[in-house]
Amino acid sequence: MSNRVKQILKAREASIVIMLAVVMVVAFLMNNTFLSFENQMDVIKSNAVLGIAAMGMLVVILTGGIDISIGGQLALVTVLTGQLMKETGFDNLIVIYLLGIVIGGLIGLLNGLMISHLSLPPIIATLGMNTIINGFLKYYTNGAWINQLPQKIIDFGMIKLFSKPGEVGGQVGVPIQFILFLVAMILTWFMLRWTKLGRSIMAMGGNRVSAERVGLNNKNLTTFAYVFSGMMAGLAAITYTSIMKSVDPNAFIGYEMNVIGAVVLGGALLSGGSGSVLGTFLGVMMFAYISNGLTLARISTYWQSIIVGIIILLVVSFDMVKLHRETKRMTKVDIVPIGD
């Protein structure tokens, strides 16, 4: 086996690919339509929001932080922009998207400043932020849904590219949400791989002290990560509205667990510095396929969280066992017979 192949197999992504393959095979055996193009596109469409949000969370986790307020950010953006659209009938989608990104970015900025300049532990700062946002939203909406959104955003949500009539009726094509998810992934990947900013984030996540010694500005990098996460949350939020055609202020309560779960399943380490866009994508797809597979197999969706939970436990335990084995191998002594 060539070194390259070995390296690929060793990569953290390899184990999740194998697990994903197992899930896919099981899902396919239960229902043949699982692998159909139409179903695949549906799966991606309904998980684009999770995927986009996960990209933001990935960057935060790379810094060694965590963003508990991601659910709150999503809810806040959907409610504020939804209210705006409903009240004023404003329907310029580009502006709505920009607005969502700006709102998310501002919340992210607040998170980032609290964490970098007031040295609050990330989990506490974002937990506090989440409590504040959710309190505000309950107060503001009283839990009521926002309906009667402009037709334009509803139409936008149903756009399918390269569409042609499907066999069972309706249109088959690449949903616009897939494109948005793709854009978020490419953007994140490019930032992390090719820009000095991204490399600095990776470096700082690995070792903050060293980062300071080579003159990186840890505070600004950390703040940026939360702003980026907030902006991704904004993008995800508008995308969500376009799919659901209405706004439920309670839709994202507890959602942070899904996002963190997906990123962690994708191999990112909570200690920072380690994680990839590809891995996170695979983690999101794992979530997606499990729920889709269960639906297709007509198994109660209540099973979904059990299976997802068990897979999270298995994957992280497997990682741990692997790590133990690797560290053991590293302290290995080369034993040779005496006297040669």
Binding site: L118, G128, N130, T131, F136, Y302, S305
Partner: protein, 341 residues
């Protein structure tokens, strides 16, 4: 972190020493008193009443007990995201059994309740063992373990209840959550007993000291001949038992069990723990600090409720307080560092 008291001569000395030793508790106590005074002024004749304090006693017990369960885990440097889901899983299993036995009608109410409570606590211990196994024996980061188990526990609960509630317990069961003894709610009495037990275990026993040591440096503690795996497993079991007790109180108060009861409590329990002075990285903190934080949050929400402020504003204020208190920490510790240099 200082746990030694050399029995100083007078109570006054003791208080002064206490203040010196633990300015954090004094600060929390002042905030609490300040809030009570403030609320009494803002709602004259309505806040400082027996009825209101009784109400607070009913309300805060379940959350207070959960917060203790969270605190002990955080003292070891861990976190328990599955706290409320283990609470509800136990409660739902217990509720299911109690309903079934009640419908069969062959047993006395008391034995049904006893079986119900025993099963709730048993399920809790099992939940704690699962968490403890993954954290202590497999070595996975607590946040990930409990993220996973939270999803699993919640899933099992949903599978049992199919998303709806379980009710139909023996009538007496309701008494736990709503009855009083000399006008003092049972729940409050249970809370006080739990506090005392937790305080004793954490502050006075070898296990408690080990909890802090593991929170400071697990490896060094293990290398000192301490069975840290056992210590950690017991920590998660303790946490889950707290969750179980809270679960009993919750389903008794609502007279039903549902998978999503108390879902915001997990995060609130983390907030109360940190407000109470426990370092999120472990190795420090006190049971009394957490109790104080719970009291503050309770006075705040009751007070706001009486004054007529929307209860959602309470959430906002809670979040603000959490951030503010920790920011104060940041500045005071900076001051300390400057002084010591």
């Amino acid at each position: 972190m200082e746990k030694v008291n050399n029995n100083p001569p007078t109570i006054g000395d003791r208080v002064i020493q206490g203040i010196r030793k633990d300015p954090r508790m004094v600060f929390l106590a002042l905030v609490l008193i300040g809030l009570i005074v403030l609320m009494s002024i803002l709602a004259p004749g309505r806040f400082l009443t027996v009825r209101n304090f009784k109400n607070m006693g009913f309300q805060m017990a379940e959350f207070g007990i959960l917060a203790i369960g969270m605190s002990v885990v955080i003292m070891t440097g861990g976190i328990n995201l599955s706290l409320v889901s283990s609470s509800m899983l136990g409660a739902i299993v217990g509720a299911y059994l109690m309903r079934a036995l009640n419908q069969a009608g062959t047993m006395s109410d008391w034995s049904i309740i006893l079986i119900g409570i025993a099963s709730i606590l048993t399920v809790s211990v099992l939940c704690g063992l699962v968490n403890g196994f993954f954290v202590a024996y497999v070595g996975v980061v607590p946040m990930l373990v409990t993220l996973g188990t939270q999803t699993v526990f919640n899933g099992i609960s949903l599978n049992i209840t199919r998303g709806s509630g379980i009710s139909g317990f023996p009538k007496v069961f309701q008494k736990i959550g709503s009855g009083t003894l000399f006008d003092i709610p049972y729940t409050l009495l249970i809370y006080i007993v739990v506090i005392l037990i937790a305080w004793y275990l954490v502050q006075k026993t070898p296990w408690g000291v080990h909890v802090y040591m593991v929170g400071g440096n697990e490896k060094a503690t293990r290398y000192s001949g301490v069975n840290t795996k056992k210590v950690l497993t017991l920590v998660y079991v303790f946490s889950a038992v707290m969750a179980g007790i809270a679960g009993i109180l919750m389903i008794s108060r609502y007279n039903s069990a549902k998978a999503d009861y108390g879902s915001s409590y997990t995060m609130m329990a983390i907030a109360a723990t940190v407000l109470g002075g426990t370092d999120i990285n472990g190795g420090s903190g006190k049971v009394w600090g957490t109790v104080m934080a719970v009291l503050i949050l309770q006075v705040l929400s009751s007070g706001f409720n009486i004054i007529g402020i929307n209860r959602n504003i309470t959430d906002i204020v809670t979040g603000l307080i959490l951030i503010a208190v920790l920011s104060i920490n940041h500045f005071t510790s900076k001051e300390k560092i400057r002084k010591s240099k």
